[in-house]
Symmetry: C2
Subunit: 201 residues, 2 copies
């Protein structure tokens, strides 16, 4: 990695950490620069605005979620519905560990941005909207496979995946607000009940 | 209402509107004072800190939700499960109207505060936590009545109400992020599927 890429990456990583543990509007550019050990002029060389940084942070958080949670959960070494259950176990264990280390549940980085910024910045809203749709895809795939195997009756897999991921966002918001990772485990058990019958969406 | 109460009320109402349509950290005390047509010294007479104002805003939003949504939805003129369906119809119609008037879905005022502030202010987190628990109560009551009438099998009504309200928060987050009130109608139809069997929580 060359020096410019390294500086850009340090800014993104500093912002990701500060914003995730607090909130977007609460963290200023100066604080991000201090945390990344970068001069403010250098910041604006890489990011014309704080919004551009936010979009890069969202990309990095999405890549992180894919590597640490999605890929592991949806491996096809177990039946498709068990993979969805493993998704909930994985996010439960992740946030339980974070709580043990920090005393806090920080929620879903995408839900946090969506909640805080959707009415304030159309580019950020649209990006989070897109990340939510993309996050539904491994659920659609697992549900489709479960229907094909006869593990589920015929259902609207796209509508079901959307209902499940909306529930995921609600669970993460509850876990953050109640500061209790056990809610992820308890509420997650009900996710597969949200099946949407075909033609009844 | 005397002059002091009127001033206090104007500050709360201005803050409620500004924070709900944007976010807590994005709205400063000076802007709230300007919007309420109140001097900054007067603000601190009523609210020692912005956090104290946030807690009063949450009280007012809770009272508003009770009057406009909960009371109307959970009237006992229809069977208990139909009241839960009416809750979703009511929030759908409310946010559809807001979207028509403003072009935006602003989400759940409690979920918004919980998402943005839970890791930053323990008093606000605890207040929102309490409001979420209180919001589950009319659902517990309707579910209990439905079990008693034989409209539902024996279920853990408290755990079911919690799962349903977590789903409500996820639906509102999705509707805000996708800026689409139709998600409230579509996803809301699945809420009663989240029944939690007795002793299996």
């Amino acid at each position: 990695m060359d020096a410019a890429n390294d500086t850009r990456q340090r800014i993104i990583t500093a912002a990701q950490e500060l914003i995730y543990t607090r909130s977007y509007n609460e963290v200023g550019v100066q604080e991000i620069c201090d945390h990344a050990n970068v001069k403010k002029g250098s910041f604006y060389h890489f990011f014309p605005s704080k919004r551009d940084l936010a979009l890069a942070v969202l990309d990095q958080s999405q890549a992180f979620m894919h590597e640490t949670i999605i890929k592991k959960s949806f491996l096809d070494d177990i039946p498709p519905l068990a993979r969805i259950e493993r998704f909930f176990t994985t996010i439960y264990e992740f946030h339980k560990q974070v709580k043990e280390n920090t005393g806090r549940i920080f929620g879903c980085p995408f839900g946090n941005f969506g909640c805080e910024m959707s009415t304030q910045d159309e580019d950020i809203r649209s990006k989070v909207d897109n990340i939510l749709s993309t996050s539904e895809k491994p659920f659609v795939k697992a549900l489709t496979e479960a229907v094909e195997r006869g593990d589920l009756p015929a259902i609207d897999t796209a509508a079901t995946a959307r209902a499940i991921f909306a529930y995921v966002e609600g669970i993460m918001l509850y876990a953050k607000t109640c500061n209790d990772p056990e809610l992820i485990r308890e509420l997650g058990k009900r996710a597969l009940q949200l099946a949407v019958p075909v033609n009844m969406q």
